[in-house]
Subunit: 368 residues, 2 copies
Amino acid sequence: MGGKRVSIRDVAARAGVSTATVSNVFSGRKAVNDALRKRVLQAGAELGYSVDRAASQLRSGRTSVIAVLVPDLTDTFFATIVTSIEARASMLGYDVIVASSRDDRATEASRLKALLAWRPAGIIAVPCSNDMPAALTDNSDGLPVVLVDRVARDLRSVDSVVIDNADAGEIAARHLVEHGHRHIVIASSRNEIAPIAERIAAASRFIVDKTGIEPTVLEVGTVPEQGAGIFTKWLERHPVPDAVMATTNVTTLAVLSAFARFHIAVPDRTSLVAFDDDTWMSARNTGLTAVRQPVEEIAEAAFERLMFRMNHAGDAKPKSIVLGASLVVRASVARRSADPRGDGDETDIEGHMRTVEEARRRAKNSLH
Amino acid sequence: MGGKRVSIRDVAARAGVSTATVSNVFSGRKAVNDALRKRVLQAGAELGYSVDRAASQLRSGRTSVIAVLVPDLTDTFFATIVTSIEARASMLGYDVIVASSRDDRATEASRLKALLAWRPAGIIAVPCSNDMPAALTDNSDGLPVVLVDRVARDLRSVDSVVIDNADAGEIAARHLVEHGHRHIVIASSRNEIAPIAERIAAASRFIVDKTGIEPTVLEVGTVPEQGAGIFTKWLERHPVPDAVMATTNVTTLAVLSAFARFHIAVPDRTSLVAFDDDTWMSARNTGLTAVRQPVEEIAEAAFERLMFRMNHAGDAKPKSIVLGASLVVRASVARRSADPRGDGDETDIEGHMRTVEEARRRAKNSLH
DNA sequence: CTGAAAGCGCTAACAG
DNA sequence: CTGTTAGCGCTTTCAG
């Protein structure tokens, strides 16, 4: 039940030295005679002293906080990034303060203000929209900022780390098309999110080019359960597509949940390209073929870039680091023989309709 | 490229008031004339002022940091808890600083020291071992502490939030036994972790009581990939059990991954009770029957208790809050007809051996 | 209700 | 190499 906190003065008194010496011992910024050093350390240990970071930061102006803002810590993609940053930061003596914007701009703004109030040494943020969060736009005091993932292509005013989203989309689309799939649904989280938009655009372009058939883009949001509901509803009214392409790990989950409700078998009944390479995706009898983002590398790049910024204030132009995605081929995409009904032709509407009916029937049988 | 940070003095000057008034306006601790208030707010906005939390904390002694320590942010169970705490904390004006111990006691100690250096208002920790982390044992200055999850049954010296692990274990065991399963493998993460030990003990006791057959307890660790490897190895040398009972979400993943490698079908070939109720567990054609921990409630209870502690320093005895777990029945446990070979009898070793051979054969066929 | 002044715990600058 | 002293930005008496 606490006596007063022990301060640098207590240690100084006990060791019979000045506070400055104690400070030097603990910060290591100035050499201290070894005998004294030991005495100070000893005294510190006996009293259970540890330097107060708030005070230290206030006085020195040097700060040891790195702020991290993500839309949702529960999403493994973001959680992995945060974990990685925290590990790297702590190794260099920084502490990480996290905040989640819950994918909401207002929350984001307010959390960001709170983070900034700690005068962090730098901030790594996954914005919930594509723009620079407002609180960061007027970055008049040169706070090092690195944006990750949700960054519009043309936003070149800050350092950023993204993946080649167009390529990621195309990789998935190509795999599907090459396996003979024609009627493809792209499961989007929210179309206005830049990386999602880019994945979709590239995939659509590729699919239309090769097959002449426009894929269906369905927004299912960023919450798995809701997404499952939305996709389920869609499946009730539409034929089961040849294949589905997910654009995030959450959309993957949503799609799979909906499939489960109708007992739609992957890849027998329909194929799926997942997004992100979460552990659970391979812990199944038919492992999920997935577009893999190099999460660890993303975190590393973001952290490195932040460090760079912290050491080279305003010089150096903002840099947009783009990492590659890759396809992990497993078993969720089947080869589909060319459709004899003639791809992209209006006449195939009949085939479509037939499947619609079938889907309806199945829906009725399966749901409750 | 930053001019000096704007301080309370700048705002005071601009508004033509004293710094004390500005402080009162921003902290809201003392009423300020409305006209003045507006002027101050205005000036603050124009200058982009925000109070420096480090300075504020230093002077006032009041602190707005809540420290959170978990073994691994990547584990959805912990990530969910952190998310929930962060949301609640931020609503009350607290900021969360997180650290991950990477399941290592040395790391834990050092991260804890770093957290404590911020003089947090309180700390919520999931220890990596069962004991009170050393840095917290000598809690002479009455820092509010709430321990979560990895807390030994008899550790009554601190507030803690756990689930009824014995019950959780028994629930799973009963479900399996009632469905006619006899040869059961319990997938442990690490046996020395208190909650795991309790789950296993209760499950084993129940299984032995009812069937006379001792379950096999297999430690697979806390990393999914490694766990998969370990369980895979085990499967190569042993018959496929009637059922597997997982004790964490990671062990669930490990088991499933190993099953996938051998194409062991759940529940046709063997049954599985999963642990934790992650989204992916239901996003499958055969949804996983799972023991569900009330994660959200755990986080809430921990946070509430921390708040309580923060407001009632040393009074009130430490409390151990125990929440219940429940079984979510889905489709991964099949009914197995009673074994005609006689349960628990030595003679059933023959049947066993036969299966070993079969497993070996399958393993050879499936691997690479 | 507002202002002046002191000082939280620490580190920077400078003197010794 | 060590000590003295001032003061980071803020909040808090305490006068007015």
